[in-house]
């Protein structure tokens, strides 16, 4: 198992290197001169040259990339063009918000989707199954940010139950924090819940015809125990893998959802930096996002192996 984890970490590092180079190279594609962008049209050639010198922009892109990577290893993501703040400090402030948003939404999605999946799988093709498939398709048919817009319209403006924007940390004021997270979390969770419910349903239907289910039924155990202990354990590995994949989509969807609810998370930071042409910040955020994704993948694989001995066996072979 340890060897398997080590191998996955090395693979992830390779992927991280390629992906971070993709980010670096793409942002260099940008037409125009970054020094000119920073200093405006009034700058003289000498001033521009001096700025390029001080930012290291006159070196080759490969040198710049490795320099940036070297700083990254020391936890330094460069400094923002804007107020001269370090990108690391900006990301450190934004990351907890995005992480909370992603984790709460994933948990909510699983809590909604798994009972839905079991209900549909009870009688495949039956009335409940058809109704619930309509429900899950309608969950997935609107992107998370559009759910968010609808929630602002209905719950914030019409019913004035929840605030439409702002962030309060749970360690400052748990109740207000819950109120500020409620709408964005539900908006993010709905499309994910729809997908997990559909995939979970077919996994449960497939498993229900296994011999061990017939045996458990013959033993006379209760329906609830059969479902939530025996079958859930058998389908947990594919569900965990799916949850890992969906978490990545959640992080992507969070970009627009954070904008709708003015949550100062990583996505919002990236969008704001885009409009300020603050490329070091975009670069830093994207790299942290990739690190998160790779970490989530590894965690999902370890959890899946832990939940299902069959996966563990396949992985350690």
């Amino acid at each position: 198992m340890f060897k398997f984890v080590l191998r996955r970490i090395i693979q992830s590092l390779v992927v991280f290197l390629i992906a971070s180079f993709v980010i670096f190279a793409t942002l260099q594609l940008l037409p125009g001169d970054p020094a000119r962008r920073l200093m405006g049209n009034m700058a003289t050639d000498q001033q521009l040259e001096a700025l390029r010198e001080s930012l290291g922009l006159n070196r080759s892109i490969i040198v710049q990339y490795f320099d940036w990577l070297w700083n990254l290893l020391h936890g330094d993501l460069g400094s923002s063009f804007g107020a001269g703040q370090s990108v690391t400090s900006l990301v450190a402030a934004a990351l907890p918000i995005t992480l909370q948003l992603g984790i709460y939404s994933l948990i909510l999605a699983l809590l909604v989707a798994i009972p839905l999946a079991f209900q549909s799988a009870k009688r495949p093709g039956g009335i409940i199954d058809s109704l619930l498939s309509v429900v899950s398709i309608s969950f997935t048919s609107l992107p998370a940010f559009v759910w968010g817009l609808g929630f602002v319209l209905f719950f914030s403006l019409t019913l004035t139950l929840f605030p439409s924007s702002g962030y309060i940390a749970p360690w400052e004021n748990p109740i207000e924090s819950f109120r500020s997270f409620a709408l964005p979390v539900v908006a993010l969770a709905l499309p994910t819940a729809g997908i997990i419910a559909r995939v979970g349903r077919s996994a449960i239907v497939d498993t229900s015809s296994s011999a061990f289910v017939t045996y458990a039924k013959a033993k006379g155990i209760s329906q609830a125990r059969l479902r939530y202990v025996h079958i859930l354990k058998a389908v947990s590995a594919p569900l965990i893998t799916l949850a890992g994949v969906e978490f990545i989509f959640l992080l992507g969807d969070a970009v627009a959802v954070e904008t709708v609810f003015s949550l100062p998370g990583m996505g919002r930071l990236m969008v704001v930096s885009f409009f300020n042409r603050d490329y070091p910040v975009i670069q830093g955020c994207a790299v942290v996002f990739i690190a998160l994704v790779l970490l989530a993948n590894i965690i999902a694989e370890i959890l899946a192996a832990w939940a299902d001995p069959r996966v563990k066996e396949a992985a350690t072979k």
Partner: protein, 296 residues
């Protein structure tokens, strides 16, 4: 004169397997909800291509005499007007052209590039396979919107860069599916026969492998289309995609959000259009996947 199958071949089986001679025979294999979804999409395409020709307004025309943010059902404006007194129905339909053409274009580019990468990786194997698939892995390490945002930032926001951003996001999915399919076909007798006959890689890929993997790839394209539409909407909503005054469903929602406390309709119209379209595409895509035997 009809061509008789050679004797000894079971004619019934031949006919059920290949319901040839009729176009759209796949429609008969769809369930009723899938047919409804398909019908909706056909109607949508017809409406979006034909109706704007008969509309009295352009997407950018401001009708201040009629009024700002009119509700649906107003005189002259069936769906009402937006914050600049532009006709919402015209913007919705012309925006649909923009949104749907971006989705279609990016799926097409993603499909072609992804299939080339996937078939090459699958057919060649070895270091080519490892390199190409590692690059695909690293593209998939991005949350989709983050990759699209980086590309849009690199290229500057426009119609073209939206297409490029979404198609890059699509490539790994297509590459993976076509690689798996190619691996399955690669060692089959007909490919071997073609190789024995002296055909080289490119010829085998186009004349032998492609015809046998296109159906699941088409189903995958339908699934990707259902992701591309919200992708465009999100990018344009954030201001990173289609730029105003050109309407798209995404930037219409962004406009509407700024005036959400005054009138909800500029958001509701594109949101409903988006939801119906995505729902129909995904239901139809499910049917295609089932028919092509690639249901997951």
């Amino acid at each position: 004169m009809s061509i008789e199958p050679p004797s000894g071949v079971n004619r019934d089986r031949l006919e059920t397997k290949i319901p040839s001679g009729r176009k759209f025979y796949f429609l008969r294999l769809l369930t009723i909800p899938e047919r409804i979804a398909f019908a909706f999409l056909v109607i949508l395409v017809l409406v979006v291509t034909l109706v704007p020709m008969f509309l009295p307004y352009t997407a950018e025309q401001q009708n201040f005499d009629d009024g700002l943010l009119l509700p649906p059902g107003s005189a002259n404006h069936i769906l009402g007007t937006d914050q600049l007194a532009r006709d919402l129905l015209s913007r919705l339909l012309l925006g649909a052209r923009v949104s749907l053409s971006i989705a279609l274009g990016s799926v097409a580019i993603g499909l072609v590039v992804g299939a080339i990468i996937g078939i090459t990786a699958g057919y060649r194997g070895g270091w080519m396979n490892t390199t190409l698939m590692r690059v695909m892995d690293s593209l998939q390490a991005f949350p989709t919107m983050v990759l699209a945002l980086v590309i849009a930032a690199g290229l500057g926001p426009s119609y073209q860069s939206t297409v490029i951003a979404i198609s890059v996001v699509m490539v790994p999915g297509f590459a993976r599916v076509s690689r798996t399919l190619t691996l399955r076909e690669r060692d089959k007798d007909y490919v071997l026969a073609s190789r024995v006959a002296g055909a080289k890689g490119l010829r085998i890929a186009t004349t032998q492998v492609m015809p046998n993997i296109w159906a699941p790839l088409a189903a995958q394209a339908a699934v990707a289309f259902a992701h591309a539409i919200p992708g465009e909407a999100a990018l344009s909503f954030l201001g990173l995609g289609v730029q105003p005054p050109t309407p798209s469903w995404g930037n219409m929602m962004a406009d509407g959000y700024a005036y959400i406390s005054l009138s909800p309709w500029p958001i509701i119209a594109p949101a409903v259009a988006l939801a119906l379209t995505v729902a129909s595409v995904s239901v139809f895509a499910d049917g295609l996947q089932r028919i092509s035997g690639e249901e997951h």
